[in-house]
Symmetry: C2
Subunit: 160 residues, 2 copies
């Protein structure tokens, strides 16, 4: 498994699991029918530093980004997003990628990282807690989950 | 005092106080030197419903926007932003505008309103609390305030 910065030509190999995850509507506050073009603008945005994880065969199995969470006087706080190919879930890829991204954010000079909208039923909440993130607060009933109904969105935080 | 939806041609009368407020760097997480063109794209964005307050002489003394705070499965939660001309501060304009905007958001079908980054030293925090908003959490030391140093950013919430 190798983690490296993404190149523009990686996108077609990110899109299949990106689309599958967003279309499922369980973890991201993006339109479930986001087009490939809009998705590419969101994820491969020049304001973001984007990473990919390749497995032993060279397949891309996960991706993440880091970007400032705010502008102006609050640029010292990072935001990040993570997607692991659901076919590769449960193998520790998300945790390894998250540790890499947290370290990269610290090296880039960020003082903290914030997730603005973590669906409270997302199994990743446990991962973030295990990596030192805390739940600052929860927006109640903010997210229409296809199986659980209206669930909260956590704001999560970690100093770097 | 009259509150109405903004028209594109109102922008040149919003920009002077918009610029003054953002350049002061005490309340907004936008670049202090945001250009007029970038500011117009941010504030008069087609995704936002924008309001202005006119005084008796027809001068624009405040503006606000309402927009979805999230996309996809969480579009039921609104975000809003408010600016009152500092020369007109302390006359209740912000409160009257806020009540109008909260009511407009409810009418538009939003179930709740969230502010993602309220600088904890901003006097408006008191106004939001008086209008039924609560502090869900605070991102510590996230905002470099020109006079107070690093201060927190509140996430504030109100059901509609």
């Amino acid at each position: 498994m190798q983690i490296r910065e993404a190149a523009a030509e990686d996108w077609p190999r990110i899109w299949p699991f990106w689309h599958r995850i967003v279309a499922a509507g369980e973890t991201y506050t993006w339109d479930r029918d986001t087009s490939e073009e809009a998705a590419r603008s969101l994820w491969m945005n020049p304001a973001k530093r984007v990473y990919v994880v390749e497995d032993e065969t060279g397949a891309i199995v996960a991706s993440a980004f880091v970007t400032p969470n705010y502008g102006g006087p609050a640029t010292g706080v990072a935001n990040a997003g993570f997607m692991v190919d659901p076919d590769r879930a449960g193998r520790g890829i998300g945790g390894t990628l998250a540790e890499h991204v947290v370290e990269a954010a610290r090296t880039a000079g960020y003082r903290a990282m914030v997730f603005n909208a973590v669906v409270e039923t997302n199994p990743a909440v446990k991962l973030w807690l295990s990596l030192g993130f805390e739940i600052l607060g929860t927006v109640p009933e903010a997210f229409d989950h296809p199986r659980h109904g209206r669930v909260g969105l956590h704001i999560m935080y970690r100093a770097l």
